[in-house]
């Protein structure tokens, strides 16, 4: 087998080597498959390795020989199990969809297919993307490749672990409240949630539609940028996809071009924020200062309540979106009894504990008598949070926070206390509430050698600001 240095490989380096014939697509893919066969039975990052990799490799190699190769041709990627790839199982790590074969391609898959990306397999996740540790999977937990007793974060923990264990060069995940950024933080890699409306969700299993967004996992900011540039598109199949001209307009409405970085000090004073995380964040701010950025304390007082608003909006949308699983059209079905029995048994058996909890919570929140007090109020708070951020972006170019309030935790540590688990998303949820982009970048190590991570947020459609500060930070930080 060809000796390829996977640890230091990037998309651009791989592309140069593939183009120059230093190694072939086959050789590159085989290196990753060898790692997977060595590590995956223990880590459980992948639920399945696809059976058509050979065909994908051949057609990618052909693109090099006939001169149609792009930067992503032949690049091995891992796909979160909630994105449709026609003819392949997509289960959302749920018993409900254990045997469900995707009937069409999600838009992201279809874009990447055209570029000749090699899809290696589908990765484990918290069932229907509900969780922060990838322990809520119907198919066993995923271990953190850096420390197997610890969780890889979630819900896209399998995708993060696949990249961190060198089982794929890049991966896709979805982020509703932090499900890309938090696992990226826990696995010591880069993870990005783009602006709401940039990457099509057509063919992504809907969790909370006003919050869901697809984004990349990679080892470098530049790689995340390359993937984002490839998958961002205006998709007529998706009603919330924003046309390109409208994006440009909105991005340029944030006129302020500045090296000022906002730090929401009031967020850091709350309970439950780890001391080591705070210390590392201060060190990261010092790095930014040395790089020439000006740090400004900002106030986002209502946004502190983002997580509370999120745990109203999100379960409400979950209960509506998951109503489609009825045991009639697809997915798990128990055909005993009358029609009502079919609904109740199919759903009761098919959904795991956390999914059922959120459906019940959402049903309660949307029920007559509680709707105004919860859902209506959360909507008002959401609007206020949006305005707060808009105002802050009149004075700073980017906002910085830690990605997670605490470092990676041990498996089983938070499984019995849902609220403690929900706290994982404290700093990542506001970007989803507002619809702005956020990126998580490794920022050092804990005393136990586990990864720290910093998050940057930018105004709508200003991903370029995240890539700029991200690259500067990445090149200056000592890992």
């Amino acid at each position: 087998m060809k000796n390829i240095d996977l640890k230091n490989l990037t998309i651009e380096k791989a592309h140069e080597s593939l183009r120059g014939g230093e190694f072939s697509v086959r050789e590159l893919v085989d290196r990753y498959l060898a790692v997977i066969s060595e590590k995956n039975s223990d880590i459980n990052a992948y639920l399945e390795i696809y059976n058509d990799i050979n065909e994908q490799v051949l057609s990618a190699q052909k693109m090099f020989s006939d001169g149609t190769a792009t930067i992503l041709t032949g690049i091995p990627i891992a796909l979160k199990d909630n994105m449709l790839f026609a003819g392949h199982i997509a289960s959302a790590s749920s018993k409900m969809l254990e045997n469900y074969t995707a009937t069409y391609d999600s838009t992201v898959v279809s874009i990447l297919k055209k570029q000749g990306v090699v899809f290696l397999g589908r990765t484990n996740m918290d069932e229907f993307a509900m969780g922060s540790s990838t322990e809520n999977s119907a198919f066993g937990r995923t271990k953190n490749p850096l420390a197997p007793d610890y969780v890889p974060g979630g819900s896209s923990g399998g995708s993060a672990a696949a990249v961190a264990m060198e089982g794929a060069l890049i991966a896709l995940g979805s982020d509703t409240g932090g499900s890309i950024r938090q696992p990226a933080a826990f696995c010591g890699i880069v993870g990005m949630k783009p602006t709401y409306g940039t990457v099509s969700r057509s063919g992504l299993m809907a969790m909370a539609s006003s919050l869901d967004q697809i984004g990349p996992f990679a080892k470098t900011v530049r790689d995340a940028e390359i993937i984002f540039s490839a998958i961002t598109s205006h998709d007529p199949l998706e009603a919330t996809s924003v046309p390109m001209e409208a994006r440009q307009l909105q991005a340029t409405s944030y006129k302020l071009q500045t090296n000022r970085v906002g730090v929401p000090r009031d967020w850091l004073s709350g309970e439950g924020i780890d001391e080591e995380v705070k210390k590392n964040f201060e060190e990261s701010l010092n790095i930014l200062k040395k790089l020439g950025y000006e740090l400004v304390d900002i106030e986002l007082p209502v946004s502190r309540y983002s997580l509370a608003a999120y745990y109203i909006l999100q379960p409400a949308e979950v209960s509506s979106n998951l109503a489609r699983f009825d045991g009639i059209r697809y997915g798990h079905s128990n055909q005993e009894g009358d029609l009502l029995d079919v609904y109740e048994k199919s759903r009761g058996e098919g959904f795991g504990k956390e999914v059922r909890r959120r459906i019940l919570l959402g049903t309660y929140i949307l029920s007559h008598g509680y709707y105004d007090a919860f859902y209506g109020t959360a909507g008002i708070v959401r609007t206020q949070i949006e305005e707060e951020f808009k105002k802050v972006f009149e004075t700073v170019g980017v906002i910085a926070t830690p990605t997670s309030p605490f470092p990676p935790f041990k498996a089983g540590e938070k499984t019995e206390d849902p609220l403690a688990m929900y706290m994982s998303d404290l700093f990542t949820v506001p970007a989803n509430i507002v619809g702005i982009p956020g990126i998580a970048i490794p920022s050092g190590k804990t005393n136990n050698g586990l990864p720290h991570s910093i998050q940057f947020m930018a105004p709508h459609f200003c991903e370029d600001r995240l890539f700029a500060i991200g690259k500067a930070f990445e090149s200056a930080v000592q890992l």
Partner: protein, 92 residues
Amino acid sequence: MNISDIKKLARLARLSATDDELEAAAKGMDPILEYVAQVQKVAGMVGEKNIPDLINRGKDDVVTIETGTYTNVVLAEAPAHEGNYVKVKKIL
């Protein structure tokens, strides 16, 4: 939240569950509801002027694929079907 509340919710949400499961679910619900109720405090601060201004985005109702293109793959996923129809149990 007590067991009878949660039983009603499970019925509304079309979820079968054992009494033990519902008991456990009811217990877990209160701390979450207490936590999210914080929004009521904040909403008092910001007032009603912030009611979300939402618009529905629709698509033109036009057929873009040839009828029947996906019929077989879609039916293959249905637990029960007859001809080109998904089969549903009799209601009346």
